[in-house]
Symmetry: C2
């Protein structure tokens, strides 16, 4: 007899079926005993004899159950299994570290993360994993439809050239090498070949930040495209991609409120944002190079009121505070054509237009007093003719965190890595 | 005027269009001069005045051209552009390091790889990149249809526990850490939560092999599924996945011969393979723990003759030579339920059934004299009840190499990493 998935049992009322899964919990209602069995599709309650719980193996043991599907409106699934024959496929060695049948994981976060092989079995963790997968599917679908090609780039680099000191150093056959902080240089070089590329992959940040929103490895959804007129073309792709991601969410996570993605995204210039923040907070923010987290939260509340939008695109961050490859805003000297997308109080995307002329790269490096030698390969792409281009990178875990309303990004990452955590 | 992609020009005969791309080459046919312009979709020839080539910028400069689409059967595209108005969007700084208009890149492989930002613009390199992307799309589509969930696992590990000394070591906030050789432990742990998972991601091998088929970073297509009866269930998924990958190829790369994937895959037991090889090669191979590359080539020729198949599944590798988590073959003591898939003379997939009982893991570690302490998190998954499960990992670059018939795997990897190469 083939296995029947639990979620499909309502289609088999009156039949004898075989289900397989984990012993989720036992329940006694008056003189009636139930075994709850969980598989990847759902949980079913199985009516067992009064003494049926006596010989049960511990929770999380893997069982096979043959039984009859009986309609019962009181069961969450609308059906339950009667007259079960239970076989233990693989016993657990005792009660699991966490109670997976409770609606929430109430243990401390470090304990939950230490026991990831068990805690990831909890409904909330499975939901976050499925939501992550669905968002990435939406991301890819939108980009494939617009002629983007998926690429796979090196995560081990010979030079730490992208900027910032926060890189992990490794021993590469006796030489120093570095983990990639992003696929930035590669995706730009590939615009010269494929025009439109994207990558879904791990990036590594050796930032010693111990906050609820920083991970040392996260999943970056990277996009780069050529033949743009300005950052607005990049923002338009971002709007469509984000809308596709949000559309992909509801089928996976019923109950997660999925926000609309306005088209176009509401935009505020960095300088205007500072001015507004200064007035609202009674602070002198003139000359600030970046937005503080509190400013991002304030701006998101403003966008919610002003536009009814959970998203706000802040453009024109000061050029001096953006990476050297950032294109200046042709209309506002000192400001860049770079943007961040804020979502529910937090930055989830960084992007913008990049420089594309070789001479501009040499000037940008020179202005920072940087030797162009380590950039030779990167610069060769611009020597060889590069179209105006731009792109963005979405931090997957942050989007999921904000969508499910998790207080800490570690709650939505399968096996998080941070300044303290390297296991499991 | 909106940009028109070159491949769609035959739909615009008689119209004035705007195209954008790279100055691919110039051509003089008698007294007629052409500029060839390349974009991501193709190449168009543009009729230029007799002195039109005089003011042209160097090859690979980025141009915008407005012109009239005229039917001409002599043109490869069936149309060409007349009366062009050329604008230079972004000049190149001189002739590129390689001639991209020739049918093949004839420079030495190190030179080609050193100049990846240019060489990746060549038609053959673009084709390999698009083929890689298409194969991964096929891989995902097949798995999504069967209820697999995409996952994202850590690439930085606190312990080098998977086996083998060939791991890269890094400095992780002052502690030793290691780059993941595979997502093996994680995908198994996730079977306990999601039952069916897959991952597309980089893996890192610090093997000092300097061969045409080894990379220190490659793209691993990983699959793991629970509730199997035996390795045959895993092989059946592999067959469907591989068939979907091959189906995805032709639309991308016309001219690449795409082999059929027999259902089921032809299978030979490792012991029978050794016996056959011994007889054919007149060698005593009894007790050999693995197949040599020459053996794999011989077996593939045999499978071609015997089954008309480019694929051959070799199952039952000696248990002692497989990783400790490999399930034994219940029918043949000393042999495993592990397999390799050979394709056109080369191993492209490793997989099989894994152990699933906690006690079996303790015994397997003990038999090797290994301390179970560093495996505590991994073992917790089996303590908590794990179904019979198995999976496999496909080496993407090797599949592409064999499909396009490249002599060296580095020819089909965008930016290869090996014992000598860390750039670009």
């Amino acid at each position: 007899m083939n296995r029947t998935l639990i979620a499909t049992l309502p289609d088999h009322v009156g039949e004898t079926v075989r289900v397989q899964g984990w012993l989720h919990a036992t329940r006694a209602l008056g003189r009636t005993n139930f075994v709850l069995l969980r598989d990847r599709s759902g949980v079913v309650q199985i009516l067992t004899p009064p003494d049926g719980a006596r010989d049960l193996p511990p929770r999380e043991s893997v069982l096979e159950v043959e039984g009859q599907v009986v309609r019962d409106a009181r069961a969450a699934l609308g059906v339950e299994l009667h007259a079960p024959v239970l076989t233990v496929l693989s016993p657990s060695s005792g009660s699991p570290a966490l109670d997976l049948a409770k609606p929430a994981l109430t243990a401390s976060l470090p304990f939950v993360l230490d026991h990831a092989p068990v805690s990831l079995r909890h409904a909330t963790r499975q939901a976050a994993a499925r939501l992550s997968a669905a968002l990435v599917q939406g991301f890819r679908t939108a980009l494939e439809a617009e002629g983007f090609v998926e690429v796979f780039t090196p995560k081990v680099l010979g030079t730490a050239t992208e900027g910032g000191a926060n890189v992990f150093r490794l021993d590469y056959f006796g030489r120093a090498a570095f983990l990639a902080q992003s696929p930035q240089f590669y995706k730009q070089m590939l615009v010269g070949a494929l025009e439109r590329v994207y990558e879904v992959g791990p990036v590594f940040r050796a930032e010693p930040h111990d906050t609820v929103r920083h991970l040392s490895q996260y999943t970056s959804l990277d996009v780069e495209l050529g033949f743009i007129e300005s950052w607005r073309d990049v923002a338009a792709v971002l709007q469509r991609v984000m809308a596709a991601m949000m559309r992909s969410a509801p089928s996976t996570i019923p109950g997660v409120p999925v926000p609309p993605v306005p088209d176009p995204l509401p935009v505020i210039h960095f300088a205007d944002a500072l001015e507004m923040l200064g007035a609202a907070l009674g602070a002198d923010l003139a000359g600030e190079p970046d937005l503080a987290p509190a400013h991002e939260r304030w701006l998101c509340e403003w966008a919610e009121t002003q536009y009814g939008s959970d998203f706000l695109l802040v453009v024109g961050y000061p050029l001096a505070h953006r990476p050297f490859y950032t294109h200046p805003d042709p209309e506002r000297p000192g400001y860049s054509a770079g943007f961040d997308l804020l979502f529910r109080g937090q930055e989830i995307v960084t992007g913008g237009q990049r420089l594309h002329r070789h001479a501009d790269y040499l000037a940008a490096l020179s202005a920072r007093g940087w030797d162009p030698t380590p950039y030779a390969s990167y610069l060769e792409a611009f020597q060889a003719g590069m179209p105006p281009h731009g792109g963005f990178a979405i931090g997957l875990e942050r989007v999921v965190q904000k969508l499910v309303g998790a207080a800490n990004v570690r709650e939505v990452c399968l096996f998080p890595r941070d300044v303290h955590r390297l296991a499991p």
